[in-house]
């Protein structure tokens, strides 16, 4: 249903159709500036997950099965939206810190960096939400440390229109850091590192499934997981002396990100240094109608 107007949003909140939750993540790994990090693997609340499943077999993610930020139960046929988000970092090393809130949809675990052969995925399971893949992005998350040699890889996938055989540009793995949770295609400099999400073939706006991954060098050790995600919202913690707050109704032109039933929701972060021993605290308000 959503909100026909501001009054509908206010009425929904006053009627109690809302869930207020909090989070506290405390990474125990040494990250570096500019290399994105996956908070879903960090200890705290919500409890971490580690992309543990059969290698190369698509595995869906859900609130009920995997955890993530507690956003309340299913509300269909109503629709749930992120209304407000607050984030607080209190260690200087942790700021500024850009955060994306993601709906984690599905992952393909344990891509092996040690082979140059094509690694084919099992797609018995399909996207549980945003099923056509529109807007769905891919991130490569390190789950077993690599040797920082800067190997390259590309991904063959089916796009949002259902067209198979689409191919990403060649991506270069980070040479900056090698801790679990690192988003492998990020660091502050260097060609072939496009950001937290893989660059897609020209014209594509999303990914429905991954068909194969191929490491072109195949000389490194380490494992990574391909994760399909839907970006929901952004918040940036700029300093340790003030909380960052986003009211998506007032600050984002009324665009309150949708939260699907049973969505697994968590953060990725672009830190400005090591997050080890720092904490990310905050709260979120979800409203449905």
């Amino acid at each position: 249903m959503g909100f026909a107007n501001v009054a509908a949003l206010v009425d929904a909140e006053l009627a109690g159709r809302s869930t207020h939750t909090f989070f506290r993540k405390a990474p125990a790994v040494v990250t570096v500036a500019g290399a994105w990090f996956d908070y879903s693997m960090a200890p705290g609340n919500p409890a971490p997950q580690y992309y543990a499943a059969a290698p190369l077999v698509a595995q869906t993610m859900s609130r009920s099965g995997d955890g993530g930020i507690q956003h309340g139960g299913n509300v269909s046929p109503s629709t749930k939206h992120l209304r407000r988000l607050t984030a607080i970092a209190v260690a200087a090393a942790a700021v500024p810190q850009r955060l994306y809130l993601l709906d984690y949809l599905m992952f393909y675990p344990f891509v092996d960096m040690g082979t140059g052969e094509e690694q084919t995925m099992d797609n018995t399971q399909t996207l549980p939400r945003f099923a056509d893949g529109a807007g769905v992005q891919v991130m490569a998350v390190l789950v077993a440390p690599h040797g920082l040699v800067g190997d390259t890889f590309f991904v063959t996938y089916t796009n949002q229109a259902g067209v198979p055989g689409r191919v990403t540009p060649l991506h270069t793995m980070t040479t900056a850091v090698s801790v679990n949770g690192t988003i492998l295609t990020t660091q502050t400099a260097g060609a072939g590192r496009f950001g937290p999400f893989l660059a897609l073939q020209t014209g594509d706006t999303g990914v429905r499934s991954i068909e194969a991954v191929q490491c072109t060098g195949g000389t490194d050790v380490g494992l990574f997981t391909m994760v399909l995600v839907k970006p929901l919202g952004e918040i940036t913690v700029r300093e340790i002396t003030a909380p960052a707050e986003v009211d998506y109704m007032l600050d984002a032109g009324g665009k309150c990100p949708p939260i699907e039933d049973d969505a697994y929701v968590n953060f990725i972060s672009c830190p400005n240094g090591s997050l080890t021993g720092t904490q990310l605290n905050g709260d979120a308000l979800f409203v449905w109608n």
Binding site: V6, L9, V10, E13, L14, A15, G16, R17, S18, T19, H20, T21, F22, R24, A26, P43, G44, N45, A47, S64, G67, Q70, G72, G73, N74, V75, S78, T86, I88, V90, I240, T241, A242, P243, E245, D247, M249, L250, Q279, N281, G282, D283, W288
Partner: protein, 380 residues
Amino acid sequence: MSGFSSLDDLINEMTVNGKFLRADWNKLTHATGVQAAGTWYALPHATGNPAAMTLGAVGTNLAFHPAYEGMAGSIYHGGPVAPDTKHLINASAFSAAATTMPAIFMLVDMIGWYPVTTTTTTGNQALINSKTFTATAATPTVLTLAATWDAQTGTPLRFTTTTTLPAGLSLNTTYYWSRTGPGTGNVATSYANLAAGTFVACSDTGTGTHTATVYIGDRQPTHGAGVQAFLTPSVALGAGTPNIQLTYTDASGNTGNTTPTTLPISNATAPIGQIEYSGTGAGKCGPFVPLAAGDAGIRQVDQFNYNVTHTSGTTNVVLARPLLTLPMTTIGVAAERDLVNQLPSMPRVYDGACLVWLMYAGAATPVASAFYGHLDLAWG
């Protein structure tokens, strides 16, 4: 018309008609045990100003106990203003104590609680929300509740009957209990009358069987809307990590709803004041117990369940409605909230509201750490 028709009207009510109150407060963190990082605490039963509320074994175990303005532990906000409506327009909080940051404070209207001294009991325990009663034909009438419910002063009640209520009592009307003894009391038609000692008279005893039932719906836009539940010990809990489940009546009046199958897990040896299932790791959430999918609030809690025991202690199932949050990052710097320019703007503070704070400790916070702040309220 109650409320404010415009910003000009708000300014006029405050500056011309004097319908404004600033309420300053200070609360200390609980005196036992460092407040653990990543954990929520309830401050109504911590010391400070307002003084500590007495939770726990007051009245009958498992029976609803009301919370309302004027009782120890509630922030004074100016008393009843009906037919006007009262609203929060500004709020602040800060601390100068070391290692108190970060913290998030949440202001709630605490509706009431169910004390649970039987924390060594497993399985569903029925909570008390209603009893049959008799009433005298007298001025004021004296009501006697069936055994056993030692209802406490301020309990909001509505009456039903199998035949005819005593003349002087009405259906679909909220009355407020004034305790005269265990299970006996008078009733008033408003918090103002309760405070003034103005009670209802009855000219007969009615016919049939009468029932008094807790009714909290005058403190929300609709009965139960936005009301959440949390659990906090008033006597430290002993060993044990039980799963917690509540059975409740939701804001639509559906009975028998239960909290989700992924249940919060109580903390072993949770100290006084801790929201006992909050923290970090699996099974931890907070500050409120998750509700069944799609539920928008709680009218009453019907059953309480630990699947295994704590070895000792007293907890409280508290009903509360959140009003605002104040995130703090820096010692000595006030967190401030302009509530006029929020959405929804100016949370309403209902007559009788019991304003108390919940606290999220972002860092290990020492005992007796002082927090201060204020609330600005206006009515019209």
